[in-house]
């Protein structure tokens, strides 16, 4: 069967025809790169994904990790993939040359992760979690930490983790109680050793036999620290402690259980006990009490990665559904009454096309937003002053949307993939049931949807006098203007302009609510607002794609290119007819004076 877990034609379109990746290579930071190396990197990624990740997708789901004698055993593919990603430079892809990385633009590293995640999400997590942990060490750790930890992590020998969550502290990290006590009361600065004691739960890849060591980037409170988020520090806590002679000794980190999950079963989620024998050493990263700040520096990237993971899984499910719909004969054209006529492939039924278009519009719209965010990261890295601030604010503002829209809609999109398969989709013979289970994690980890809503409405929109929104509106207006000049897109341009008016009205209303009734009322519907804002954002991303697609459709030289651009046009039309109007309904809700969620008391349920 043809490889359908990802569309390289669409990746090409987005990277080059919409976001002009190659133009980045004009800047000194990326001067080593160019279109040719970009293409080779994508090809190499596709090959690795197809040959290592895809074949174990199902097996890793059917044979989840097991905890035996305190050690987590994972599928053999994990060690192989970690080594390939380490030796092949994929973990270090985005790191600077000075750290032996390839200094690739985010648009490209993001695309590579997307490809791996579409092939096998669970497997893709191991190397890229390691990259995230290593980046914290690279950005905030001292020379000793970098020297000890970066080489084995970037080469895929050691796993990196993010150890934040505790039983009583999930969404609210202010409540963590894991404790760090300086080994030497006089040495409390960056790089100092601390004794760690506490319990972490749900830690992804927190222990496994696919690597030789595990390095936890752990949040803890130094004894006597201020209460709340201002008293949280970041530590490097290895499973095995490197000695000065290079040997490794146990560091009193124990796995007390692994969780049995709905999906995403190829990666263990562990409960970890630190310092039960009072012999767990951790090294302070950066300054004391700045831990959450450091973590948040990495948060945009981590959250966008979650959105990319959701879109990637839905992409693979859509590919499977599309294949199936072309092959499955069932039913006849509505007018055709002759039972001797052969049945039609279901892709010919309008309602099946609706389901496929829904998935296409979701997947390609989401991926566009993810790459848009990656582009802002790249532009931030190569600009200075006001320009740099602009891209940083745009990225901050769009991050909760790029995390949540793909995550929440990914559930619906993979569900529609199952629906295309009918009863066969509900059975495990086809991969769509697994995709549906796998995608469900995304609205939960890296900050739940509820937390993202609060982040968008409570922080991102109001900070810096609302400048972020101003920048975003200018970007959207520019797209609307170019769509107005494009034949066939004026109606969509007008529709998006109307949505911006609705956004304006909703925000004006909420400002009054905030002033008159306080933050509880202002934020009561933050999640609904996020959904509303998300739909408008994706409509913008569709218009942004439709403009170059419309120009290219007329001049395309090959039949398959013409089909591709026509497909873009139809998917854009679909989004504007079926999805954007939902924003109007949400605006109605957001403007509605009733407040059942505030007024219903716990005892009323």
């Amino acid at each position: 069967m043809a490889t359908t877990f990802v569309s390289d034609r669409n990746l090409n379109f987005l990277l080059h025809e919409v976001f002009d990746l190659a133009s980045l290579a004009e800047h000194p930071l990326y001067r080593e790169h160019g279109r040719r190396s970009f293409d080779m990197i994508i090809d190499a990624t596709l090959k690795l994904a197809k040959e290592i990740c895809l074949p174990t997708l199902r097996e890793m789901d059917e044979q989840p990790p097991v905890l035996t004698e305190g050690r987590v055993e994972v599928h053999a593919a994990v060690r192989r993939f970690m080594r390939e990603c380490g030796d092949g430079g994929w973990i270090a892809a985005g790191f600077p040359h000075a750290l032996d990385g390839e200094q690739l633009p985010q648009m490209l590293t993001c695309t590579c992760r997307y490809i791996f995640a579409a092939a096998n999400y669970s497997l893709s997590v191991y190397p890229f979690l390691t990259a995230g942990a290593a980046r914290l060490i690279a950005n905030f750790g001292g020379a000793m930490l970098r020297k000890t930890y970066l080489p084995p992590m970037l080469s895929g020998r050691w796993q990196g983790t993010m150890a934040l969550t505790e039983p009583q502290a999930g969404s609210s990290l202010a409540d963590i109680v894991t404790e760090a006590v300086p080994m030497d009361a006089a040495a409390t600065k960056a790089g100092s050793p601390y004794r760690i004691r506490g319990k972490k739960i749900f830690i992804s890849a927190g222990d496994h036999d696919g690597v030789d060591n595990v390095v936890h980037l752990l949040l803890a409170k130094i004894a006597g620290a201020p209460a709340g988020v201002k008293g949280i520090s970041l530590f490097v806590v290895p499973k095995l402690r490197p000695q000065s002679d290079g040997t490794l000794i146990p560091n009193d980190v124990a796995v007390s259980q692994i969780y049995h999950k709905l999906g995403y079963r190829g990666c263990p989620i562990t409960e970890l006990e630190f310092g039960q024998r009072d012999d767990c050493h951790g090294t302070l990263v950066g300054a004391p009490h700045r831990g959450l700040f450091y973590m948040f520096q990495m948060m945009n990237e981590a959250r966008i990665e979650v959105g990319a993971g959701a879109a990637a899984i839905a992409q693979a499910a859509y590919g499977a559904a599309l294949n199936y719909a072309r092959l499955r004969p069932q039913g006849r054209a509505l007018g055709a009454k002759d039972p001797d006529q052969p049945p039609l492939p279901i892709i010919q039924h309008a309602d099946v096309k609706r389901m496929l278009l829904f998935q296409k519009a979701f997947v390609e719209g989401s991926l566009a937003l993810i790459l848009q965010c990656a582009r802002y990261m790249d532009l931030e890295a190569i600009s200075t002053g006001v320009e740099m601030e602009k891209y940083a604010l745009l990225l901050d503002l769009l991050t909760p949307v790029a995390k949540t829209y793909p995550s929440e809609m990914g559930i619906l999109s993979t569900s529609q993939a199952i629906q295309c398969f009918g009863g066969y989709g509900y059975c495990e013979d086809f991969p769509v049931a697994q995709y549906y289970r796998d995608v469900r994690i995304h609205p939960i980890h890296e900050g739940t949807t509820g937390i993202q809503g609060l982040d968008l409405l409570g922080r991102k929109l109001v900070r810096h006098n609302g400048r972020a929104l101003g920048y975003l509106l200018a970007e959207i207006q520019a797209t609307i203007a170019s769509a107005r000049n494009t034949a066939g897109l004026t109606a969509h341009a007008d529709a998006l302009a109307t949505s911006l008016d609705q956004l304006d009205a909703v925000l004006a209303h909420l400002t009054v609510v905030a002033q008159s009734d306080g933050p509880d009322a202002y934020l009561a519907d933050a999640t609904v607002f996020l959904e509303f804002f998300g739909i408008i954002t994706i409509a913008w991303q569709w218009l942004l794609q439709a403009v170059p697609a419309a120009a290219a459709e007329g001049t395309a030289r090959t039949a398959s290119d013409r089909r591709f651009y026509a497909g873009k046009r139809h998917a854009c039309d679909f989004f504007f007819k079926y999805e954007l109007p939902k924003a109007t309904a949400l605006a109605t809700t957001l403007l509605h004076p009733a407040r059942p969620t505030l007024e219903t008391h716990a005892r009323h349920f």
Binding site: D8, G34, R36, S37, M40, K47, E84, D87, A93
Partner: protein, 263 residues
């Protein structure tokens, strides 16, 4: 030890191929191009030999249009040192012997101890080019190798044959073709992709290797493809009807004789 590897760029077997019946060819406009998978074994083996010896070079050679450069760059990204592409419109339409003449023409200008090729190319599936190259260069040939050991001035090859394998010895220089099972080709790594951009890739024309254009290309090809078509679509099955097992069997035999004409 200097090793030359023959590389062909072929359509990814997962590409949807459209037959161009009018021109008796395949429409390659929308094809994704890759290195012939058997050539990857050849490249890998060359790299392993070089690494084991700790010295020498691996040169990849291809004949083809501009786009073949991608395949050579990918081979460079796997670790090959240099590449040569013979890109000449006059060579287009060559049959296996024509291509072999061009390859032999390039190779004979270069120093080498060993030539490795894939056992076959997954597009034309002709198995002929490596053998013809060996013939033109007057080299010993061992096909379908699944294991080899290099000795002083000689090589021992394990050749896959039906039902088993033969152990064959040949003096160097020689040419062998790589069969699946020889090794696990490595993946191109990011650092090597970046390095590959800077590695030498020489482009040559027929004149550069002193080959008369009249000896290659469509004109001199001994093989011509007269027509190309997809296999006929499979028809739906036919249900045999009859009241008794005997009647069913008789009807089946009749159909096999008269309609399928297999009895």
């Amino acid at each position: 030890m200097n090793i030359i590897v023959l590389v062909k760029q072929v359509p990814d077997t997962e590409s949807l191929l459209e037959v161009d019946t009018a021109n008796a060819t395949v429409n390659t406009q929308n094809v994704k191009w890759i290195i012939n998978p058997y050539d990857e074994y050849a490249i890998e083996e060359a790299l392993q030999i070089k690494e084991a010896k700790g010295a020498g070079s691996v040169t990849v050679v291809a004949v083809g249009p501009d786009r073949s450069e991608q395949a050579l760059r990918t081979a460079l990204a796997m670790g090959a040192d240099t590449a040569v592409l013979v890109n000449d419109a006059a060579a287009e339409g060559s049959d296996a012997l024509g291509i072999a003449k061009v390859l032999a023409g390039v190779i004979k200008e270069m120093p080498y101890d060993l030539v490795i090729a894939g056992v076959r190319a997954v597009d034309d599936d002709g198995y002929q080019v490596p053998a013809a190259v060996a013939e033109y260069l007057e080299l010993p040939l061992v096909t379908a190798v699944i294991k080899q050991e290099l000795g002083e001035g000689k090589i021992t090859c394990h050749q896959l044959v039906e039902g088993g394998s033969l152990v064959v010895e040949a003096p160097l220089p020689m040419l062998f073709t790589a069969q699946k099972g020889l090794n696990e080709p490595r993946y191109a790594s990011l650092p090597n992709i970046m390095k590959a951009k800077k590695k030498p890739l020489e482009k040559k024309r027929l004149a550069d290797i002193g080959l008369d254009a009249a000896l290659v290309g469509t004109g001199s090809a001994k093989v011509a493809i007269s027509a190309l078509a997809l296999p006929p679509e499979r028809k739906g099955g036919k249900m045999v009807t009859g009241d008794t097992p005997e009647a069913l069997a008789a009807e089946l035999v009749r159909l096999l004789k008269e309609e399928a004409e297999v009895l």
